[in-house]
């Protein structure tokens, strides 16, 4: 017996056909130490690079990349939500800066 699909149902399995599915976005957040903050891990890594014969390195600083996907009514709201996460969780504003790049995921 074929599965009945109902438009607008939250049980809808095929999101392409569902009128009420929210767009999905992928956000890539980069968290970096503020320029004024010492990065001992980066310094240690830079010294190690010299041992591999890479001599010309001027600086090396280590940050984090956090990738997340979310649903939101539009890109602006998606970015706003990710911004809240950045401010309150993903980065520590005392020592870190953050940036977001956002793209809509095609279903």
């Amino acid at each position: 017996m074929p599965i009945k699909k109902r438009f607008g149902s939250s049980n809808c399995e095929d999101r392409c056909d569902c009128l009420f599915a929210l767009p999905r976005y992928q956000a890539r957040v980069e968290v970096q130490l503020r320029p004024s903050v010492l990065d001992p891990a980066g310094e240690a890594t830079r010294s190690a690079a010299a041992r591999l014969g890479v001599e010309g390195l001027q600086s090396l600083r280590i940050g984090k990349a956090i990738v997340l996907s979310l649903e939101a009514p539009d890109a602006k709201q998606a970015e706003a939500q990710v911004g809240v996460l950045c401010d309150r969780l993903l980065a520590n504003p005392v020592t870190e800066n953050w940036s977001i790049s956002l793209e809509e995921l095609q279903a």
């Binding site: 903050v37 010492l38 001992p40 891990a41 240690a44 969780l89 993903l90 520590n92 005392v94 020592t95």
Partner: protein
């Protein structure tokens, strides 16, 4: 922590689960050392969002004593109850050793048992204990006497040798060294006793 408080000092204490929301009839809060959430993301960052800490915010705002030790200090900075941040030790090593500290009690209630510029010894055991804050924050903290504990010999690169900080009001104290490990005479020092005793008056 529990041994130091109830075993050595005979102060009644109990554990509260992070996922609850009430401090019940608690009169002082201690956020102890450890590795909450495996130090994922940043030390203390995930723990700082625990439901119980909403109640700790209100408790601190009402003047209740709050003590954060090591990971607990990290949680207090992530919560915003204390300024600044704790970051990776400058030499990248986990440092576990006895440590001399200079106490400047100021208006910090939990340090009232110590003399100004008194030298004490508490052990340290941490990989992320380097205290940092922005320059304007640092001047404010200095001005208001909130830099209450400094290292005699800075082990981790903390700005101005800061080992512990209190809030403006003096009821919230965070420090990287472990006073509870300087409480049992068997462990070689009891300088931490006066700090813990101040929790309940």
């Amino acid at each position: 922590m529990a041994w130091a408080l109830s075993g050595i000092l005979d102060l009644p204490c109990r554990f509260l689960w992070h996922d609850t929301t009430s401090l019940e009839d608690i009169q002082a809060v201690v956020l102890p050392g450890g590795f909450s959430y495996g130090d994922y993301l940043r030390c203390g960052a995930l723990a700082s969002l625990s439901p119980l800490l909403h109640a700790v915010h209100a408790f601190a705002a009402d003047g209740g004593p709050v003590l954060g030790i090591c990971n607990g200090f990290q949680v207090l900075t992530e919560m915003g109850l204390l300024p600044g941040a704790l970051t990776r030790n400058q030499n990248l090593h986990f440092i576990c050793e006895p440590c001399e500290l200079v106490v400047s009690p100021g208006s910090c209630h939990l340090l009232k048992g110590y003399g100004d510029q008194e030298r004490v010894q508490f052990p340290i055991a941490h990989g992320e204990g380097r205290y940092q804050c922005q320059a304007d924050t640092l001047s404010e903290l200095e001005q208001h006497g909130q830099l209450v504990l400094r290292y005699g010999h800075n082990p981790n690169g903390s700005i101005l040798d800061v080992a512990g900080v209190c809030n403006r009001r003096g009821n919230v104290l965070g420090l990287m060294p472990h006073p509870e490990r300087a409480t049992d005479p068997l462990l070689g020092g009891i300088d931490g006793q006066r700090l813990l005793q101040s929790l309940l008056g």
